[in-house]
Assembly symmetry: C2
């Protein structure tokens, strides 16, 4: 069992990469196993429920990676505006490096399978909530009220997610960078007005 | 030929509906023909290049529908903030009606096939540009400078596109409505500041 355990993570990693590049439906189980270098038997051992359970694990893994990235950037960013701009630069760099094939690691799978597949939708909700919570905490630290921070965190998340789609189509990081820059400007302006009202 | 001509649009319409609900890869040609009520022969007659060319036509059709919707809403909206809120209400209503299965009609296909498929990426770019141009014109009419309007139109488009993904996962129109409301508030604030600077 210890020998087989080592293949779980490579299988999930391969699924994340393939699903984000080409989607869930066009990725075959054999392709995932080949890319992971795991023996075929281990796939059925770890994911007896089949492809859907691999998708749940992939969405969960991808969501955790986004959280990790955001937490790292958060600690280096003074404000949410800085955080969003740093995140956008990172995403635009990754996109360029992958020749605009690596978009958001969860979007395509979610659009193909949510809300029909309950467990995948649930994994998507968890990933979104974790992300929104980090932004929300940073926005509150900026000085936004709790209620306003929640709504703004939603907007920031939607905006970056949406810009990743267009970046693929345009084969350019510009939609991501422009979206983040405008969002950052708006946050700064909004904060200065909000604080002025409190003085 | 006149007899066969009548089947082209139903085939495209069926493809738009199926691709938006379940994606490109998991939609079979037979499924499209069945949903369109067209005889199977007509599919090969109109789309001799096969499934990819149906996807190009579907992305183009869906893009034109978005333009039509936006133009209609535009004529009834005083400002871009109003336009975005009306669009969001419409989208949230459609999502609810489809039990959160009908998201953006082009996103899933684009994420599955762009940038690898050149013609589909091109159709996606055309659809995005048309949408951004309408928003840009409205933002200029609001009083934003040409350059700023272009960037803001990008942000507004990204934000609504992104919110549609989360609406499916959450089975709720709330991500769309919250995103649009915050975006509208920001536009109004930004405009009042921009105009103040010019006085």
């Amino acid at each position: 069992m210890a020998r087989q355990q080592k293949h779980r993570q490579p299988i999930i990693n391969a699924a994340v990469t393939l699903f984000r590049r080409q989607g869930y439906a066009s990725t075959g189980l054999n392709e995932i196993v080949d890319a992971s270098n795991a023996p075929k038997g281990s796939l059925y051992y770890y994911f007896p429920e089949g492809k859907t359970s691999i998708a749940v694990a992939a969405v969960t893994e991808a969501g955790e990676r986004v959280v990790e990235t955001l937490e790292q950037l958060c600690s280096k960013s003074q404000t949410t505006a800085d955080l969003i701009k740093s995140h956008a630069r990172l995403l635009a760099g990754w996109m360029k490096k992958s020749n605009y094939r690596d978009g958001c690691p969860i979007t395509t799978v979610l659009l193909e399978l949510a809300p029909q597949e309950r467990l995948i939708s649930q994994a998507g909700r968890t990933a979104y909530n974790a992300r929104i919570n980090i932004l929300c905490a940073k926005l509150k630290a900026d000085g936004f009220s709790r209620e306003h921070a929640k709504c703004l965190a939603q907007l920031c998340t939607s905006a970056l997610q949406g810009s990743l789609i267009q970046a693929r189509v345009e084969r350019s990081g510009k939609p991501i960078l422009t979206t983040a820059d405008e969002m950052a400007k708006m946050l700064e302006l909004m904060l200065s007005t909000e604080n002025k009202g409190e003085e």
